[in-house]
């Protein structure tokens, strides 16, 4: 199934006929039941995103995470419970999704996404939701999605602050357009430095799922070529325009099937 072609038969931009959840699910069922989404990182962003996608009726949800549940995860990683401490997040997450809906097929991928395995992990899915916690993983995902032509929804959270950018490879600005070449100085601001407010993770993860659902329905994403910025302390949401970098190597390779990204000219760091 190709996501480069909007699915036929869907009213453009039309919301579900009713706010009633079961009615909304019915109206989208045929489209979403045949679709699949991969969650990279079953943590603060991935848990709410997986829940929203499964609840909405996405037929197949992949969970990729190598880690086990710890006590401090529970505040924001809402698929996991106290009794899950020590279990793999993919096992705990799959159980939670199954309790929500037995109609969703869940793939458990107990691996850390790397530059080496990214292409293989993302291959079966229509859309990828990023819940990874570091820039290296996000860039690996960016480059693999560019090469495979897979749309993906990047998310980042730090303290009270969150960001979303949805990338349609070759057609909208990618993460590399935004941050450039990976390097010592381009580490980004990892959440490990400062912690994360649980509500911002829930907010961003859910909004990522909403944009992934737009992609699966063949609608234009809300956050392509536009970086959403949220501040849940002040409780404000804004955005800035992100343009495709004409020199971006990932965009240049989008859809070409190549996975090697050449060094950026005049790399910054």
């Amino acid at each position: 199934m190709s996501l480069h072609h909007p699915r036929a038969g869907l009213p453009d931009e039309a919301p579900p006929a009713s706010v009633n959840a079961s009615t909304a699910r019915m109206s989208d069922k045929s489209v979403l039941a045949g679709s699949s989404a991969l969650i990279v990182g079953v943590g603060g962003l991935g848990c709410p995103a997986a829940l929203a996608l499964a609840a909405e009726g996405v037929g197949r949800v992949g969970l990729a995470d190598h880690d086990a549940v710890t006590l401090d995860n529970l505040a924001r990683q809402i698929l996991h419970r106290t009794e899950d401490i020590g279990r793999l997040k993919v096992d705990s997450g799959a159980d939670s999704i199954f309790r929500l809906s037995s109609e969703v097929a869940v793939d458990k991928i107990p691996q850390r996404l790397t530059r080496e395995n990214a292409a293989r992990i993302i291959a079966p899915y229509d859309v990828i939701v990023d819940g990874s916690d570091n820039l290296a993983a996000k860039l690996a995902l960016n480059d693999a999605c560019a090469a495979a032509g897979k749309p993906w929804v990047m998310g980042g959270v730090l303290r009270f602050f969150g960001q979303i950018l949805t990338i349609l490879p070759g057609r909208s600005a990618c993460l590399r357009c935004l941050v450039g070449e990976e390097g010592a100085g381009a580490r980004g601001l990892d959440c490990g430095d400062a912690g994360v407010f649980g509500a911002v993770a829930g907010f961003v993860g859910m909004a990522q799922a909403a944009d992934a659902l737009r992609v699966l329905r063949g609608l234009p994403p809300a956050w392509s070529n536009r970086l959403m910025t949220a501040d849940l302390w002040k409780n404000t949401v804004g955005s800035v325009r992100v343009a495709q970098d004409p020199d971006c190597p990932a965009c240049a390779l989008a859809g070409s099937g190549q996975t090697k990204i050449p060094a950026r000219r005049g790399a910054l760091v």
Binding site: G41, G43, G44, L45, G46, D130, G131, S132, D133, N134, L135, K138, G155, G156, V157, L158, R159, F160, F161, G162, Q163, L175, L178, V179, G180, E181, G183, G185, A186, R187, G188, L189, D190, C191, G192, A194, V196, A201, L227, T229, D231, W233, K234, V240, R241, V242, A243, D245, A267, L268, V269
Partner: protein, 92 residues
């Protein structure tokens, strides 16, 4: 000549938690230098050891990325808004 500089949450520790500050300057480079002059330490987060703007720090003048304007040489005038938007990588 003063512009409003929007400070992202991760850098507000340098600005006494202010999310916007008024800074003088004729272009982006001067504004950021004056910003660092007033709030010591913030420049280190924006620039690398060689004095180049860190690639993951994006600077916008009135919502337009300076990479698509004249870079740090982009002129600013009274009332303009300069936004600092770092990419954040957390997801944990």
């Amino acid at each position: 000549m003063a512009v409003t500089v929007r400070i992202p949450t991760p850098l507000q520790e340098f600005t006494q938690q202010q999310d916007a500050v008024e800074i003088a300057g004729a272009d982006v480079k001067e504004v950021l230098a004056n910003l660092d002059g007033r709030f010591a330490g913030i420049g280190q987060r924006l620039y690398d050891e060689e004095g180049k703007l860190r690639r993951f720090v994006n600077i916008y003048v009135n919502q337009e990325d300076i990479r698509f304007l004249q870079g740090e040489g982009t002129a600013v005038s009274d009332g303009d808004e300069v936004s600092i938007v770092p990419a954040i990588a957390g997801g944990l």
